[in-house]
Amino acid sequence: MKFSILKKATWINRSTAQTKQPPRQKDHGLLDPEVLRQIGHLELLTQRVVDGFLTGKHRSTHKGGCFEFAQHRPYTAGDEIRLIDWHVFAKSDRYYIKQFEEETNLQAMMVVDASGSMNYRGSTISKFDYARLAAACLSRLVLRQRDSVGLSLIDQSIRKYIPPRSSATHLRSLLHTLLNEQTSGMTSLSGALHELGKRMKRKGMILLFSDCFEELEPLMQALHHLRLRGHEILIFQTVAPEELSFRFDKMSKFECLEEENLILDVDPQAVRKGYLKRLNEFQEQLQQRCVELGCEYFQLNTGDELGTVLSQYLSRRNAGIKA
């Protein structure tokens, strides 16, 4: 369980006052024109076959009469009569069924961590803002390539679930949901991902926007579960630069964003070394385990320009797939 060690440490000073709700962010258009300009010419492609009902850029698991010829096979009892290739029958007097490779659309699921820890903002915008910006931009990208996209906002469970759709109006509902949700509560990524796996019937692509700051093993189990269901998983670990460098000087009170009344007196100079050591160990393990599970890991630093980051990522990814 996340922060179990803190819960056991009863001596930690917990203020009785209610943790102040961070001020509501100024609403802004999630679809940043600058970001869209930078990634507009790119595509988000899957590396695997996906289940879909519409025609699209992705190879479908279904074969049938559609666009691209695949092969002939002898007619067997039960096959539909309309699928018999009469031209072959005329030539060879045998019944053959004509099979085609089906092209279908991608089902992409934007999973955005809306737990308290994503509210950390430091010197930049908050991680949650950064994540939903990225999710929005990528959603539009997916829809624009006529794939379907859904949204899951998770904390301890799935708070909001919008099934994937490919209609143009669907983007508005996604953006509306993303805009009107705020971070709160503790994170249980593993639980939420298990639940998500059950909900997603079709194989698709899961884009997880989270800081992933929770215990590693349950998270890996959840990812493994999704992978077994055939989903392609892209992990966008969203972190703030302060979280990576821990550049604080003064003695401060560190107030937990997820657990109320958990406040620690911290001498940053004294704890920095230990903190960075733990963080780096965690990051290394996270990346290594993601690779082992076949997930794709990418770090989003809120200090970086989102458009540039996504652009570079998508370019590199597309190049790798086409190659």
Partner: protein
């Protein structure tokens, strides 16, 4: 605990400053909303524990340092028992009167035995571990032991043994001084109660009850003593004014103690009846060095009366002779029934006569007349006439510089010419070392030269300057006469005897005037003319004496040499001048004993035995082949002996000397009740049993308070040092953390 500078305690609230700063610092910390707690928490658990301890420690150290400085400035005094500076201890100072009057014989035993028994009983009552000091009250108080003794079986045995050997002395107890010394003695650090117990005979002598300042000083010392002190006085059972006889031989007098062999000396015993009963038929036995030399008697002395008995004796042995006078009367106080006087008996006294060379062979003028007075004239030698003790040597002024003056006891300078500076320096040194100098300027003496060499504006040998001849100022009188001198001066006692001698017959037709300022002491003018001119004037220089006689022994100037007093005058004055060269054997208490010998002495082999039978070491100065010995611890009256320890360890008597006693100590007037009350009020003394209030005050006394600010300052410094070290340690730990990967 008390504070000498309590004003500084107002600064104590400053102690709260580190606490307030500590709390403020905690409150003013910035709040950082944080998500990645999982990486922070384990570090915090460790760091927080350390941090809280560090901060707490720093706050405590700073608080302690400030508190230490403030308290140190307030100068706290703390009770000794707070930190267990040893067990509670009491010091008892036993002051024992060993004066002459304690020898008073009562029915069964002497008063001193009773007093000693009381001291023993007191010692038995004291518990082991008590610090005890013993002080003997005499002319000057003297500690029996240099330090306090802690009572134990061994120390008790030692004290008892020493008490057994203790005897009454000839001293007069100065009880006030003894109590002052007891009060001034600094007790050990672990002592916080002190009792001074004075064991005395109860006579008024020695109390100085009329000296209010002394007893007020004692009271003040008692009140200001570092430890609560009580003074208790033990006296024997109340003495009533009973009839008692007490004859006291106060002293033996003689004109000189430096005498010639076979010279007839008159000793005068001063006998006083100090009792309250008349005493008849008192016999006085005289002895010289323990040998009976005769006796004298007094028919009757009434109480309070004094009788003087003369006894003539010519010593037949050379050296130091102890003349003792005692009465066999069996009165109540026997220690004062005897007295003694020491004489230094010499066979010959070397004398140097310096004159003009034409007066020497054959002797003429002053030289001839002086030699005649000493029985050394040609005629006297031929008929084997009487010869004086003086062995004269006659030299000319020219030979003076080459002469060793140290071999002579006195010098006679006649017809003084111009004298060289070196000769004057030799003469000055001779006088300073105890020699006697008789200067007789003659007709040929240049006054200015004499004044420049001998007077030196008052700093020279001659006390007065010569101003001119009598004949230089017109006078109607053909001659001048001498005013008979007072006989109180030892040198003038005989020549002032107008019945036997004829000083009134002296006619002076000429003499040299000496100018005496108005403030010149009269007792130093021995002879004065009727017209008021000093004729013979005495001067003291160092240990020696100088007389300047401004009339030569010339029959043209006076008839002095043919008067009856002339021979006596020359003899007496020369003997008087020779006195300082001999050791002073009869001293007053506190007077320094001086002894010179040509024998080589080793200080380690010299010791002086005091009347208390203590052995003390004198001071020794070896100079110019002469050993000079000094002993200043002559506070106790009685017989002293200067001994030289021989190689076999046996003492050899070098010289005895005697310190006179206080005659009033023989007075046995008891200290009456009003005087006791007066002393109790003024000096805070407790006669008899201590009062209940005094005992309560004494028992409720708290251990002495000792200053504590040094320790507090040390504590503050240590706290500062610890704070700095801790700060350094914390900083090092903090910044060590910042060196990690970024």
């Amino acid at each position: 605990m008390s504070f000498l500078g309590s004003l500084f305690l107002w600064a104590l609230p400053l102690v709260a400053v580190p606490v307030i700063l500590h709390l403020l610092r905690r409150r003013q910390r910035e709040i950082v909303p944080w998500g990645a707690m999982q990486f922070l928490a384990p570090e915090i658990i460790h760091q927080r524990k350390m941090k809280r301890i560090d901060e707490l420690l720093l706050m405590i150290l700073r608080t302690l340092a400030i508190a230490g400085i403030i308290l140190a400035m307030a100068q706290p005094m703390i009770s000794g028992s707070l930190f267990g500076f040893g067990s509670v201890q009491e010091e008892v100072v036993l002051v024992i009167d060993v004066s002459l009057s304690t020898d008073l014989a009562t029915k069964e035993q002497s008063l001193f035995d009773e007093l000693r028994e009381a001291v023993r009983e007191e010692l038995e009552e004291l518990e082991n571990g008590t610090q005890v000091r013993l002080l003997l009250a005499g002319e000057r108080p003297e500690w029996m032991y240099p330090t306090a003794l802690e009572l134990s079986a061994d120390s008790r045995a030692r004290i008892n043994e020493d008490l057994n050997q203790l005897e009454p002395t000839l001293a007069s107890a100065q009880l006030g001084s003894a109590l002052l010394l007891a009060l001034e003695s600094k007790p050990d650090q672990n002592i916080y109660l002190r009792r001074i117990e004075l064991f005395t005979d109860g006579f008024a002598e020695g109390w100085e009850a009329d000296s209010s300042s002394l007893w007020q000083k004692i009271r003040k010392q008692q009140e200001q003593a570092s430890v609560p002190t009580s003074i208790k006085v033990w006296t024997p059972n109340k003495q009533t004014e009973v009839a008692h006889t007490n004859i006291s031989i106060e002293e033996i007098r003689s004109l000189r103690t430096h005498v010639a062999l076979d010279e007839l000396i008159t000793f005068t015993a001063v006998v006083r009846n100090r009792g309250n009963q008349p005493v008849q038929n008192i016999s006085l036995d005289w002895s010289a060095n323990g040998t009976d030399i005769g006796s004298s008697s007094i028919s009757n002395i009434e109480p309070g009366e004094t009788a003087e008995v003369d006894f003539d004796y010519a010593t037949t042995e050379q050296g130091i002779v102890r003349i003792e006078c005692k009465t066999p009367l069996n009165d109540e106080l026997r220690l004062d029934n005897r007295s003694e006087r020491l004489l230094s008996v010499v066979e010959r006294i070397p004398l140097l006569i310096v004159s003009r060379v034409e007066n020497l062979h054959p002797p003429k003028g002053d030289v001839r007349l002086v030699l005649s007075a000493l029985g050394q004239s040609q005629l006297a030698r031929e008929i084997n006439h009487w010869k004086s003790v003086f062995v004269p040597k006659v030299i000319s002024w020219e030979e003076l510089e080459g002469e060793n003056l140290d071999t002579f006891d006195c010098l006679l300078l006649t017809e003084v010419p111009n004298v060289s500076e070196s000769a004057i320096q030799n003469l000055t040194r001779f006088v300073r070392n105890g020699g006697g100098l008789w200067i007789i300027p003659g007709p040929g003496t240049n006054f200015d030269s004499f004044n420049a060499s001998f007077h030196r504006g008052g700093a020279g040998l001659a006390p007065l300057p010569l101003s001119g001849l009598r004949s230089e100022s017109p006078t109607e009188q053909p001659y001048d006469v001498l005013i008979p001198p007072e006989r109180s001066h030892p040198a003038l006692n005989i020549i002032g005897d107008l019945e036997r001698l004829d000083i009134h017959e002296v006619r002076l037709t000429e003499y040299i005037r000496q100018s005496a300022p108005d403030n010149f002491p009269g007792n130093r003018i021995w002879l004065q003319t009727a017209s008021g001119d000093p004729l013979v004037v005495e001067n003291y220089l160092g240990r020696g004496r100088v007389i300047v006689q401004s009339i030569p022994l010339n029959l043209d100037w006076s008839n002095l040499p043919i008067c009856r007093l002339y021979v006596a005058m020359v003899q007496e004055w020369l003997l008087y001048l020779a006195q300082p060269s001999a050791s002073q054997l009869n001293l007053e208490p506190g007077e320094t004993f001086r002894f010179s010998t040509t024998a080589a002495l080793n200080l380690n082999q010299l010791e002086v035995e005091t009347p208390l039978h203590q052995m003390k070491r004198p001071a020794l100065l070896n100079q110019e082949g002469e050993s000079r010995l000094f002993f200043a611890e002559t506070n106790w009256p009685g017989a002293y002996q200067l001994n030289s320890i021989k190689e076999d360890g046996q003492p050899e008597l070098l010289a005895p000397f005697y310190v006179a006693r206080n005659r009033e100590e023989s007075n046995l007037t008891p200290l009456n009740e009003p005087a006791r009350q007066h002393l109790a009020e003024l000096g805070g003394l407790q006669f008899g049993e201590q009062s209940t209030t005094d005992l309560t005050r004494y028992e409720q006394a708290e251990p002495p308070q000792t200053p504590f600010w040094t320790q507090l300052l040390m504590l503050a410094l240590i706290c500062f040092a610890a704070e700095m070290i801790l700060t350094l340690f914390i900083a090092r730990r903090r910044y060590a953390g910042s060196l990690g990967p970024e």
